[in-house]
C-alpha cells in the first residue's frame, strides 16, 4: 500500500509539471507588458522599469521564470494577485467558503444519486425509471449558469424559500440553494452510474443468497447491494470534481459567495491574467490531488483491489 502511494505520487510529478508548464506558457504568450500596466498613464523611467523587471525575473527567459514560479509554489508561496495581495492570504480567506459549498453539494449529489439510482434500478424499465432518467438528462444538459438563474428566479424570488444571494453571511445553513444547484449539476452522471451498478449487483450470487436465506429487503439493499455498487459512483466523483470546479466558479459568482471561484471569476472579468493563472493552477493542483485520493479510496471500498 505504502509503495503504491509513493509510486502514484511519483507518477503525478511529470503530469503536474506538464500541466502547470502548459498554463504558464499560455500566460507567457499573453500580449501586453504587465509592468507598464502597473503604472497606468504615468511614464516610468527606464531604470525603474528594468529594476522591477529584474525583481520579478521578467528579464529572464521563459523556462527560468517558470522555475522561479515552481520553486515558490513548492515552498508554499503561490505568488501575488494583480492588486498585490498574496495568493496565500486570498486562499486562506476564500477556500473555507468554497470548501463548505463543495462538501454540501457533493453530499446532496451522493445522497440523491444513491437513493434515486437504487430505486430506478429496482424499477428498471418501468415508467418511474424512465421519468427519473429523463429528468437526469435534462439536468445534465442544462448549463450550470442557466440552472443557477432558474433556481434563483423560481425558488428564491418567486417562492421565497431561499435568499437569492448569499453574500457575507456564508455559514453552512446559508448555502443551501447554491449547493442544491451545484449538486444537481453533478447528479446526472453519478445517478446513472449508480443505477447501472445496482442492476449489475442485483444479478450477483450473494444477493440471491441473501434473499434466499430470508433476509428482508431493508437489510439486503444497504448491506449487500448499495455498498457493493458504490465504486463507480466514487470513481466518477473524481472526474466530476472538474465539473464542480467550473460549476463553483459560476455558482459563486451568481449567488455572490466570496469563495475561490468568485475570485477567479472577478479576475476573468477584469482581465487579470496572472491572477487567473495562479487560481487555475490551484484548481489543477486540487483536481490532481482529489484524483489521487479517490484512487486510494478504492482499496477501502473494495478489498479485492490490492495495491502492488
Amino acid at each position: 500500500m505504502f509503495s503504491y502511494i509513493v509510486r502514484r505520487i511519483l507518477q503525478l510529478i511529470p503530469v503536474f509539471l506538464g500541466s502547470t508548464l502548459l498554463i504558464y506558457a499560455l500566460v507567457f504568450a499573453m500580449p501586453g507588458d504587465p509592468i507598464a500596466a502597473l503604472f497606468g498613464d504615468k511614464q516610468p523611467s527606464q531604470q525603474l522599469l528594468d529594476a522591477i523587471r529584474a525583481q520579478y525575473h521578467l528579464d529572464q527567459p521563459f523556462i527560468v521564470q517558470y522555475y522561479y514560479y515552481m520553486s515558490g509554489l513548492v515552498r508554499g508561496d503561490m505568488g501575488t494577485t494583480f492588486s498585490g495581495q498574496s495568493v496565500n492570504d486570498v486562499l486562506a480567506r476564500t477556500l473555507p467558503v468554497t470548501g463548505r459549498l463543495a462538501v454540501l453539494s457533493i453530499g446532496i449529489e451522493f445522497l440523491l444519486s444513491i437513493i434515486v439510482g437504487t430505486f430506478s434500478a429496482l424499477r428498471k424499465g418501468k415508467v418511474s425509471d424512465n421519468v427519473a432518467l429523463i429528468i437526469a438528462l435534462v439536468f445534465l444538459s442544462m448549463p450550470i449558469f442557466v440552472m443557477c438563474f432558474l433556481a434563483q428566479y423560481f425558488l428564491a424570488i418567486q417562492l421565497g424559500w431561499f435568499r437569492p444571494t448569499v453574500g457575507g453571511q456564508n455559514g453552512w445553513g446559508d448555502m443551501w440553494l447554491p449547493a442544491i444547484v451545484l449538486g444537481l449539476s453533478l447528479y446526472a452522471t453519478s445517478m446513472r452510474l449508480m443505477r447501472g451498478s445496482v442492476i449489475e449487483t442485483m444479478n450477483q450470487d450473494w444477493v440471491r443468497t441473501a434473499y434466499s436465506k430470508g433476509l428482508p429487503q431493508y437489510r439486503v439493499l444497504p448491506v449487500h447491494v448499495i455498498r457493493n455498487s458504490l465504486i463507480p459512483v466514487i470513481t466518477n466523483s473524481a472526474t466530476n470534481f472538474g465539473v464542480l470546479l467550473v460549476g463553483a466558479t459560476v455558482t459563486e459568482f451568481i449567488f455572490n459567495i466570496p469563495g475561490v471561484g468568485n475570485t477567479l471569476f472577478r479576475a476573468i472579468l477584469q482581465h487579470e491574467g496572472p491572477t487567473i493563472v495562479s487560481f487555475v493552477t490551484i484548481f489543477v493542483v486540487l483536481y490532481v490531488l482529489v484524483n489521487l485520493l479517490v484512487d486510494l479510496l478504492y482499496g477501502l471500498l473494495d478489498p479485492r483491489i490490492r495495491y502492488v
Partner: protein
Amino acid sequence: MSDPLSRRYVAPVTTEQPPTDAVRVSGKPSNLWRDAWYDLRRRPLFWISLGFVALLLLMAVWPTLFTQVPPDNQCLLENSNKGPTGDHILGFTFQGCDVFSRIVHGASTSLSVGLLSTIIGSGIGWIMGTIAGYYGGWVDSLLSRIGDMFFSIPYILAAVVVMTVFEKYRNVFTLSLAIGGFAWAATARVVRAEVMRVRQAEFITASKAVGRSKFSTLMAHVVPNAIAPLIVLGTLALAGGIVAESTLAFLGVGLGTETMSWGADISRAQSTLRVAPMSLIYPSIALTTAVLSFVVLGELLRDAMDPKARATR
C-alpha cells in the same frame, strides 16, 4: 441383489432434435452498423432528438426562414423588456431587440463552435488514442502522460485562460481550438482502450500473417473496428462544445459582442431577472433543448452500439 450402480437414475435419452433458433441465412450479413440502425429506428426518442437537431441545423443555415426581424439592428429602446406582440412572439430584450430573432440567429454560433470544437477535439483524441493504443510501448507511455496533463486541467477553465490570452483574436476558430484543444484527452483514453481491444483480435494477426504492413493493418482493420466509441463520444462532445461556448460567452470571454450567442444573451438578461425573466428563460430553453437533443442522441447511439449497455437497459 442388483448392482447398485445400475439403480442410479439415468436421464431418458430423447431422440428428437432440440429446437434451434431460426437462423437467418439469406439476406444481407449483419454487422454493428446494421444492428445499431435496426435498434435506433424503432425508438421514438431517436427521431424526436434527430428532429430537433435538424431544426437547429436549419436555423443555423437559414435563419431568415424563421424570422424576418433582424436580431441586432432595429432595436428600439422604447420596446425595452416589452411583452410579446404579433410580430415579436417572444417579446423584447432589455435593449429592445426581438428575443425570438436573437434565438434563431444564435443557433449558428452554438452549432458552428460545437461542431468545430468537436472535430478538433475528437480529431486530436482519435489520432493520439489510436497511435498510443496500437503501437504501445514507449509511444503509449509518452502519449498517455501528455493526455494526463491535458486531462488534469478542466477544459472550460483552460479555455478561459486561452481566450484571455488571445483576447485580440477571438473568432469561431480560436474559440473552438481553445475548447477542442483541451477537451481531447477523454476521447484519447477511450479510443486507446478500444484500439487495444481490437488489436488483440485474430483478424489482426491474420492480416499481419498475410503480409500486410503494420500501418496498412491499422488503417484497413483496426480503425474501422474501433470507430464506434468515437462516434458516440463525438455526439456527446458536440453537446459539451455548445455548453462550453455558452459558458465562455456567459463569462465574457467568448466571441465578441457583435456575435449572437445564447450564453451572452442569458448573461445580459440577468440584470433584469426580477422584472423581465422571460428574456432570460427563452434563450435558456433554446440552449438546454439543443444540448439535450445531442445528449439524447449520443446516449441512444451508445445504447445501440454497445451490446453490454443494451443488457443493463
